[in-house]
Symmetry: none
Subunit: 235 residues, 2 copies
C-alpha cells in the first residue's frame, strides 16, 4: 500500500459531473486534477505524474478519444471513459476502444469508485510487490458481497438483490460496526447530497433487504435500526 495517494485526472465539460466526480474521488483521498476542457487536460498530462484518467468522450475541443490516444502513446496509466447512455452504440465502441474501462452516465458513485480502484489495482499489480487487495469484496459473519459480480450470498445461499439493495448493503457492510446516517447512506448510494426523494425510500429498501435476509425489524440479526440516527450492521 503506497503512502502517496494516487493522482487522478477528470475531464468533463459538464461541470456538474466533473465536480461530483471530484468530490467522490477526494472522499476516497485521491489527488484530483479536474478540467472542463480537453486542452487544459492535455497540458496537465504532460506536466503531472498521473496514475489514472477519467475522460468524457464528448468534449467541445479535443475529444476524450484523442486524449486517450495521447496517453497511450506517451504514457502508461489506465483510462476510464465516461459516456452518455444516449450516444450511439457503435460510435462509443470505437471511441472507447483504447480505454481500459468505460462507464455510462448517469452512474452511481459506488460504481465509479469501484472501477477506479479496480484499475489502480490492476495497474499496480505489475508495478509493486504488494499483495492483491480485495477491496471489491466484503465478507464477514456469513455475508459475502462481491462488487465485481454484484452478487451477495448469506450463509452460502445466494440472495437475489436489486442494484439499489446491493448498494445499500454494500455501504452498510463497508461501514460495519458503525452507524450510517440516513443522509450518509443517501449520499453514498444515490450520489445526491440532498434528499431529493423522501428518506422513506431508504426505509422501503431496508425493508426489502431485511425480508430477503430473513430479518424482521423487531429483533434484526443483521440490519439494526439506531433510532434517530440511521442503520447499522454489526462487525
Amino acid at each position: 500500500m503506497t503512502l502517496l495517494a494516487a493522482n487522478i485526472l477528470i475531464v468533463d465539460d459538464e461541470q456538474t459531473i466533473a465536480d461530483l466526480v471530484e468530490v467522490y474521488l477526494e472522499n476516497e483521498n485521491y489527488n484530483v486534477f479536474k478540467f472542463y476542457n480537453g486542452k487544459d487536460a492535455l497540458y496537465c498530462i504532460e506536466n503531472e505524474r498521473l496514475d489514472l484518467a477519467i475522460l468524457d468522450v464528448m468534449l467541445p475541443d479535443v475529444d476524450g478519444f484523442s486524449i486517450c490516444q495521447q496517453i497511450r502513446e506517451k504514457h502508461n496509466f489506465p483510462v476510464i471513459m465516461l459516456t452518455a447512455k444516449e450516444e450511439e452504440i457503435d460510435k462509443i465502441t470505437g471511441l472507447t476502444l483504447g480505454a481500459d474501462d468505460y462507464i455510462t452516465k448517469p452512474f452511481r458513485p459506488l460504481e465509479l469508485i469501484a472501477r477506479v480502484k479496480a484499475q489502480l489495482r490492476r495497474f499496480t499489480k505489475y508495478n509493486s510487490s504488494e499483495p492483491k487487495q480485495e477491496d471489491h469484496l466484503i465478507a464477514f459473519s456469513g455475508l459475502v458481497l462481491n462488487m465485481d459480480t454484484h452478487e451477495c450470498t448469506l450463509n452460502e445461499k445466494k440472495l437475489p438483490l436489486t442494484p439499489t439493495e446491493f448498494s445499500i448493503l454494500w455501504v452498510l457492510c463497508s461501514n460495519s460496526g458503525r452507524v450510517v446516517r440516513s443522509e450518509e447512506l443517501f449520499q453514498e448510494v444515490w450520489g445526491d447530497k440532498y434528499f431529493t426523494n423522501s428518506n422513506n425510500t431508504v426505509m422501503v429498501h431496508i425493508r426489502h433487504l431485511r425480508e430477503k435476509m430473513g430479518d424482521n425489524a423487531e429483533h434484526p440479526k443483521y440490519i439494526k435500526t439506531v433510532w434517530g440516527v440511521g442503520y447499522k450492521i454489526e462487525k
Copy 2:
C-alpha cells in the same frame, strides 16, 4: 495527537448562529475565527493557517460557495456548509457541491461537533503519521460512549439510550469533573432553537439516564446534582 488546537473558521451573517457555533467549538478547545460576512472571511483565509471552515451558503456579500471555491483553489482544508432546510433543493445541490460535508439548520450542536471532528480526522489521517485518534469515543470509570456506533456501555453492560439521553450523557462526560449548568446543557443538547422548553425536560431525561445507569438521586454514583447550578459527572 497534536498539541496545537485546530483553527476553525466560521462564517454566518446570522450572528446568533455564528456566536453559538463559536461557543460549541471553543468548548471543544478549537481556535475559532468568526466572521459575519464573506469579505472579512476571505481576508482571514489568506492570512491564517486554517484547518477547517464552516460556511453559511447564503451570505450578503461573497456567498459561501465562492469562498469554498477559493479555499479549494489555493488551499487544502475541509469545508462544511451550513444551509437552511427551506432553501431550494437544486440551488443547494449546486452550491454545496465542492464541500466536504453539509449541515442543515437547525442542527444539534453535538452533530456539528461530530462532523467537524470527522472531517479533521479524515484530513489529518493523510497528513500525519499519528495513530488514529479516537476522539469520537469517551471512556472512563466503566463508562464508554461511542459516537460512531451511538452505543453506551457501563461496566461492559450495554445501555440502550435514546438520542437525547445519549446527547446529554455525552455533554456531561465530555465536561467530566466540571459542573454543567442546566442552561448550558440545554444549549449544548438542543441548540437555541428549542428555547421554549421548560427546564423540567432536562430533569426528566436525567431521571431516565439515572434509572438506566442504576443510579438514584439520593446518592448517585454517576450523575451528581449540584444544587443551584446543574449536573456533574466525576472524572
